[in-house]
């Protein structure tokens, strides 16, 4: 198992779009008006995790 990939808690996400704008891999998109990470594109850089103002994104093993 590699480094943990970012995962958005959709119950917490307030849809500000910050994570989408800073993702260097363009790996995050709106799915049902919440941010969602595509684990195949995610490179585990954790930029989105640190950016989220409310802590709705965490690292998760796949």
């Amino acid at each position: 198992m590699g480094k943990p990939k970012a995962n958005v808690d959709k119950k917490k996400c307030l849809a500000c779009g910050g994570c989408i704008s800073v993702c260097p891999q363009d790996a995050i998109s709106w799915i049902g008006n919440k941010a969602e990470v595509n684990p195949e594109k995610c490179i585990s850089c954790a930029i989105c995790i640190r950016t989220c103002p409310i802590g709705a994104i965490s690292g998760e093993g796949y």
């Binding site: 500000c16 910050g18 989408i20 704008s21 800073v22 993702c23 640190r50 103002p53 802590g55």
Partner: protein, 402 residues
């Protein structure tokens, strides 16, 4: 489905563009991924009084309260005041952004634009390299919307630019990550907007208190994403509120998150494509304010689009009139304030305290970042001035290279 122009996003930039394009007889469609224009709100809701001069929005329903001036507090709470007494007029408004956005949308629809809600752009329609419209998802179905011009008004998280080959990804040092409560039963007495600076309070940003009326205010925070940790913005905001005696008996009626680009603008024009608003990074990098640019830029974009439709010319060359005109209107200001932002990041709390102390009795003639920056420049320590000069020269060199 074929339109002259399809606009992605029904925020102020999208709606104003739609209105002026439709005024010029273009057939306009606006698509919005959300179920309601302006909801959820993602904004501190302050706007300059310049809006009155533009006559872009009617009535008063969108105004929550008058803004009489601004107070900027340095880390040691030295206060610099930019007041209406000096400016001789009110300085702006705190608005209800949901109503504000909906009024702008109504004006666009009155001018002839069509809006489609719950409709999310998922890609561009291309023939070879040529952009021919957007693919969109609506409920469970997919639809193709053909258009001669695609306008990306899709916010800080814009994908339209990316799909067209414009790199709109933001460096974390160019994004403010934000959280905001609307607090009621808060002890605010006047119509001044307060700003609090400091590395401990809001690293790379500020805390704001924007009164929306008697005993109600938006209390929010923006911190630089490069200085953020998971959930740090909210935590710092909660700390601020816990310590402020005015907020002791307050309670929130709304909580929201936000993200504001504080970057240099990107390329905004390609063949058959325009970017606008937050998607184009049309935000003042010092204040994080972008509403007035959306209105000004939207008007320019709408007018240029209408011309393009009449001339049946959708080339980058023809549409570049939009880029030339927004650069004249506010592009220089954004570039200059970006340099100032970079400079401010290098300053420590002690420097901010010193500056505030030097400026605390200054009577500002105008309430703008420009007049503030001019005064700050007079009092900057030599080291900071040198820094600015070096950065400025580097910037000029880069521009010359291009």
């Amino acid at each position: 489905m074929k339109y002259d122009v399809v606009i992605i996003g029904s925020g102020p930039a999208g709606s104003v563009t739609a209105r002026f394009a439709a005024d010029g007889e273009a057939k306009v469609l606006v698509i919005e991924r959300r179920a309601e224009v302006g909801v959820p709100i993602l904004c501190g809701e302050g706007i300059s009084r310049k809006i009155d001069e533009w006559k872009i929005i009617e009535g008063k329903r969108w105004i929550a309260g008058r803004m009489d001036g601004a107070r900027i507090y340095s880390p040691d709470k030295t206060c610099v005041t930019l007041g209406a007494e000096q400016a001789g007029d009110e300085t702006g408004y705190v608005v209800y952004r949901d109503i504000f956005d909906q009024e702008l949308a109504r004006n666009a629809i009155k001018a002839g634009a069509t809006f489609m809600m719950n409709t999310q752009a998922i890609g561009l329609i291309k023939e070879g390299d040529k952009i021919k419209g957007v693919r969109a998802k609506r409920f469970d179905g997919e639809l193709k919307i053909e258009a001669d011009i695609v306008v990306g008004a899709d916010g800080v998280e814009s994908k339209i630019g990316q799909w067209a080959g414009i790199d709109t990804r933001l460096d974390p040092k160019d994004l403010e990550t934000c959280a905001q409560y609307t607090l009621t039963n808060i002890d605010v007495k006047d119509a001044y907007c307060d700003f609090y600076l400091g590395k401990e309070i809001a690293p790379g940003g500020y805390v704001w208190v924007f009164p929306k009326g008697k005993n109600i205010a938006n209390v929010g925070i923006g911190i630089l994403a490069s200085l953020s940790e998971a959930g740090r913005a909210k935590k710092l905001l909660d700390d601020f509120i816990a310590k402020d005696p005015r907020m002791k008996n307050s309670s929130p009626i709304r909580f929201l998150a936000g993200a504001v680009p504080v970057a240099n603008p990107v390329e905004t024009v390609r063949d058959n494509l325009i970017l606008i608003g937050d998607a184009a990074r049309h935000v003042d990098p010092i204040t994080g304010g972008g509403l007035t640019h959306c209105l000004e830029g939207g008007k320019i974009a709408g007018e240029v689009i209408a011309k393009a439709v009449k001339a049946k010319n959708f080339s980058q060359g023809f549409l570049s009139e939009y880029e030339t005109r927004w650069k004249e209107a506010f592009g220089q200001k954004i570039k200059r304030n970006y340099l100032v932002k970079e400079l401010m990041l290098d300053m420590d709390d002690k420097t901010f305290n010193k500056l505030a102390n030097a400026l605390k009795d200054v009577k500002f003639e105008e309430i703008s970042t420009h007049s503030l920056v001019k005064e700050v420049a007079k009092h900057l320590p030599i080291s900071a001035k040198l820094n600015a000069l070096i950065k400025y020269r580097k910037e000029i060199k880069e521009i010359k290279k291009k």
